[in-house]
């Protein structure tokens, strides 16, 4: 089972066998946002720096930025959530991933939180 890492900005990251990082928003984040109606994703090829705003999710009421959890280059985005943004509300940590990226430093992922650490972080908010 591939380990999932979490950021304090409420993104999750999973490293695939190809070394690419898959990024999405956490279930806690989708819950806080409410009904999601629109998502704007970064262009493949874009270089992003950790904590840089690189995607936008819009609920009925408000827009929120999604941040790059790590530094690297976006390689692919998920067309399924563009076509059906509500998928983020039902499958935030599985099929409703946002984008894949090639990490500048593959070891940087270890600086993110484990599931247990993220849950503890949520409890402290």
């Amino acid at each position: 089972m591939t380990q999932t890492f979490y950021s304090k900005d409420h993104e999750w990251v999973r490293i695939g066998e190809d070394g690419l990082a898959t990024v999405g928003i956490t279930d806690h984040a989708q819950e806080a946002l409410g009904d999601i109606v629109f998502v704007e994703l970064p262009e493949p090829g874009r270089n992003v720096v950790a904590h840089e705003a690189c995607a936008v999710v819009e609920s009925v009421k408000a827009a929120s930025d999604v941040y790059a959890p790590l530094t690297g280059t976006v390689s692919e985005t998920n067309p399924a959530i563009v076509d059906e943004p509500a998928l983020i509300n039902t499958a935030a940590e599985t099929t409703a991933w946002f984008f894949r990226m090639r990490l500048e430093d593959p070891t940087a992922v270890n600086a993110l939180m484990s599931k247990a650490a993220y849950d503890e972080f949520l409890g402290s908010l």
Binding site: G34, D35, V37, F38, E40, V56, E58, S59, V60, K61, A62, A63, P85
Partner: protein, 350 residues
Amino acid sequence: MLKTPLDALHRRLGARMVEFAGYEMPLQYTGIMAEHQACREGAALFDVSHMGQAHIADARAFEALVPGDIAGLRPGRQRYTLLLNEAGGIIDDLMVANFGAHLQLVLNAGRKHVDLAHIRAHGVAITPHFERALVALQGPKAAAMLPEGAALRFMDAAALRVAGIACVVTRSGYTGEDGFEIGCAAEDAQALTGLLLARGATPAGLGARDSLRLEAGLCLYGNDIDEGRNPVEANLTWAIAKRRRADWGFLGAAPVRAALEAGPAEVLVGIKVTGRAPARAGAEIRNAQGEHVGAVTSGCFAPSLSAPVALGYVRADCAAAGTALDLIVRDKPIPGVVAPLPFVPHRYAR
């Protein structure tokens, strides 16, 4: 922060609470989409106790402060009107109902204290009942859930008993749907609400209230109208009664009359936005030539249309229905078109 008489109920129902006009109010219970849909298809129940109920005995004196026909408002009838300042700017928009012995006003939460001071400053006695509860039961099934109000038609008002609770009921609301606004004493609010929920109403929060009123093309004070806007610019000319246009005898009449005769420089319009990205309040509006012609004052994704809609002020030459405009969202122009209001047809029980 202030709480309404229904605060405990909101928490029991698991509402997500937010600050609004100094009150802790429910933003949503299960989700804005579902609550919005419940109002369009069934019946939704909103706590609007943060709005201010107040009584005025002297209708003639009050009429001098508003452009509506108050002297002509028959007992048992309600009407939308505006408090204007001397410059014709909108101090508040409000509902006024004639209960025979007195007028009942329903004032916006964020403006009720300003309104009281303004009305009193002009020598009109007003008695606030801000402690009272007010709920809105809205939707095509509202009438079935409040058979006690069956005799009322749109904009009728009556004192009624609902399961023994003394209520002040108007057949009106702010969602574009048929429905009622029901006022009662604070200590009766939980029982009244419990009864309406037991009859099948869906609790709904401020999030759905906002998307519903925007689809219905109704102004939100503080967003779409304020003291810097007059009724002509705000597309509320219909709220200036014919009789009042004969004598122009209300506070702020001269500048309003001048705006009406000269035509406003900017007008509030509805805009249908292409794509799915909502243009929010503050978004710049440009015309087809790329000129700055206005700004969005309210915008959201309209659940009933599955598309974004907005209200905004635009230069008068860009206000005709069908005019192509660009709305600037995150530095990118998104095409839109001026659309007649309401976006979603009203379904009042006339």
